[in-house]
């Protein structure tokens, strides 16, 4: 039997399925917004129609852009992201209802409008990336530029004048009225750099080495890059006091090394380096020790760990089905609109809603890894895997921190949490994933019929001649 007939894969666009799912996602966002109004004040907010119109317009525009630019791209990625973004907007609006004059010592100002604006900018970034990056392989040319850009971006918050220290962590830059978290952009640059670097050097990293205790350990001289990655992560930890980014970048690098070389030895080396780094951090820095203590025993010091405790109470208050949108009290937790938005979701939507949200994150990661699996070129494979893994790691670090599975670190919850840079950069990541996906799902190029006869005629004869 012909082998070709059993594994025939028919390229399908499935844009119709995407449209239906997008409509559902927009519906969820509007429903959430209306439910918040009903829960807090007993009436549907007056600007629901304005928001609904804006959302429908934006979703339609995005769908059209996707149909035009990446017709074969994955059909579920975009609706999943729109749903998350919409849920985040509704939750921030909900916290806006109860917070003013109460949260942050009375300095709170409503954030939902700003978040809506940042979402629009994020969608703009999404479209720009799709327009500019016509083929993801062109990013491979910028391997080292991306590496340099990542280092510059990471160093920017440390520079005088523009760097600013917010709540202990020096990860923001502020130019005029705008503040930006360059670490989010550095994440994409690092993924591009790692992918480009590993495509070129993976053979040396994979083949040379010796076997110790049944694990293939890499050669000493090949340890250079992983040590560099580790040093950068520790540097972030030391100078910027940002545990989350440090964990994210190092985890991203180790996982990408493992994917590129298929050798578990790197995970062992990375794990050992991570544990030693964490232990070193614990011994050397007070803020790291404080995080560890808060993780192991938050109730030992209720004054210092009030935020975490309050969020845990919120989760418990939510129970299985939640209090209902607008009926919990997430405003009691400081920063429940950004770092602790998962706690706010858990309180109002309960375990059921939180599991749905985590499932959406899981599906986004699964699509990313699926794109990596089906991608035909090594660079695209690594880039898609790196972006998906960084996304998954970030969600794990945030949700694990809030639910006290791991020590709490300050990373943003992608698409949910309030914060401009995070939204914009995550939309850019989705655009890159869709671009790679379009390349991999597109049918093989058709062999086109020749337009002119001259191209193929070896002997030119007048009409009526003898061939």
């Amino acid at each position: 039997m012909p082998a070709s007939s059993t594994s025939t894969w028919v390229p399908r666009k499935r844009r119709g399925a995407e449209l239906v799912l997008t409509a559902m996602a927009v519906g969820i966002a509007i429903f959430a917004y209306a439910a918040v109004g009903l829960g807090t004040s007993g009436s549907i907010p007056a600007d629901t129609f304005k928001l609904a119109g804006a959302l429908i317009l934006v979703a339609a525009a995005t769908t059209v852009v996707v149909r035009r630019l990446v017709p074969y791209a994955d059909p579920v990625l975009l609706p999943l992201v729109i749903a998350l973004n919409g849920l985040g907007l509704a939750m921030i609006y909900r916290i806006d209802q109860d917070c003013p004059g109460f949260c942050l010592g009375g300095n709170y100002s409503p954030l939902a409008d700003a978040q809506l604006m940042w979402t629009a900018i994020g969608l703009l970034a999404f479209c720009v990336v799709l327009f500019v990056v016509t083929d993801h392989r062109m990013l491979q040319r910028f391997t080292y530029s991306a590496g340099l850009a990542a280092i510059v971006l990471l160093l920017m918050p440390l520079m005088p004048l523009i760097g600013s220290r917010v709540r202990g962590a020096q990860i923001w830059i502020s130019i005029g009225p705008f503040s930006f978290q360059p670490g989010e952009a550095a994440k994409i640059c690092l993924a591009v750099f790692f992918a480009g670097y590993l495509v070129r050097h993976k053979d040396a990293l994979a083949l040379a080495g010796r076997r110790v205790l049944g694990v293939d350990l890499p050669r000493g001289r090949d340890l250079g890059p992983i040590l560099a990655g580790w040093l950068i992560s520790v540097g972030i930890l030391v100078f910027q006091r940002d545990l989350g980014s440090s964990l994210l970048f190092f985890g991203l690098f180790v996982v990408m090394l493992y994917i590129a070389t298929e050798r578990p030895g790197w995970l062992v080396v990375g794990g050992v380096l991570f544990v030693s780094g964490a232990y070193f951090g614990y011994l050397a820095f007070g803020h790291v020790r404080a995080r560890f203590d808060a993780w192991l025993d938050p109730f030992g010091d209720p004054d210092a760990n009030g935020q975490l405790i309050s969020s845990l109470f919120g989760l418990a208050h939510g129970g299985v089905l939640g209090q209902g949108l607008g009926q919990g009290s997430p405003e009691l937790t400081p920063f429940s609109f950004s770092d602790f938005i998962i706690g706010a979701m858990g309180e109002e939507l309960g375990l059921t809603g939180l599991m749905a949200i985590l499932l959406i994150y899981g599906l986004i990661t699964e699509r990313g890894l699926r794109i990596a699996l089906t991608c035909r070129d090594a660079f695209g494979k690594l880039l898609a895997a790196g972006l998906a893994v960084s996304f998954a790691l970030q969600v794990f670090v945030v949700v694990g921190g809030v639910t006290r599975l791991i020590p709490l670190t300050g990373l943003t919850t992608p698409f949910l949490a309030q914060g401009g840079s995070s939204i914009v950069m995550n939309w850019a990541i989705i655009a890159l994933l869709l671009r790679i996906s379009d390349q991999t799902r597109r049918p093989a190029p058709e062999i086109s019929a020749i337009q002119s006869d001259d191209e193929t005629q070896v002997v030119k004869l007048p009409a009526g001649g003898v061939a």
Binding site: R12, G42, L325, Q327, I450, D453
Partner: protein, 161 residues
């Protein structure tokens, strides 16, 4: 707003959220269970065909997606076609050709279409003006699938179902 209404809204929202997630899963289930491509019923038919030594012609007829005719899609003989069997098919201006092409740019014995039972190949027989797939000249037997246009002189032929 009564307590009951709010509870109903809460439950409805959770239901909608889960319906959305499950619809997304159902869209991508084809990743796990395969797409409903025309060939998806093949594995079922396979044991039968393998059980008895069926004639190659019959097994190929059963095979969906395999080409059945060779058709002239452009040129002087446009619309003519020849059914595909087991033997090779000769194209040219000569009398022994399966389709006598009325094309001055075609050699007497120009190109041959042959199959190995699974796949059809096109082979140039040393023609003057050559045989082309796209802008690429055929120098060795090249496998062709459905709808791949093969250019012979000013004539274009392709495999059809």
């Amino acid at each position: 707003m009564s307590e009951l209404t709010l509870t109903l809204i809460k439950l409805a929202f959770l239901a909608v959220l889960w319906i959305f997630v499950l619809s997304a899963v159902s869209v991508i289930r084809s990743d796990i269970f395969g797409t409903k491509a025309p060939t998806s019923s093949r594995p079922k038919a396979k044991p039968k065909a393998a059980g008895k030594p069926a004639k190659p012609a019959r097994s190929r007829k059963a095979q969906r997606g395999a080409p059945l005719t060779l058709r002239v899609v452009s040129g002087a003989n446009q619309g003519q076609s020849v059914p595909l069997g087991d033997g090779p098919i000769l194209l040219g201006r000569g009398t022994d050709a399966a389709i006598r092409l009325d094309d001055d740019y075609v050699s007497t014995r120009h190109a041959r279409f042959a199959t190995n039972g699974e796949q059809w190949f096109v082979e140039d027989l040393g023609s003057t003006n050559g045989t082309y797939i796209g802008s690429q000249r055929v120098t060795t037997p090249i496998p062709i699938g459905l709808g791949i246009q093969v250019r012979i002189g000013k004539t274009v032929v392709e495999l059809r179902k």
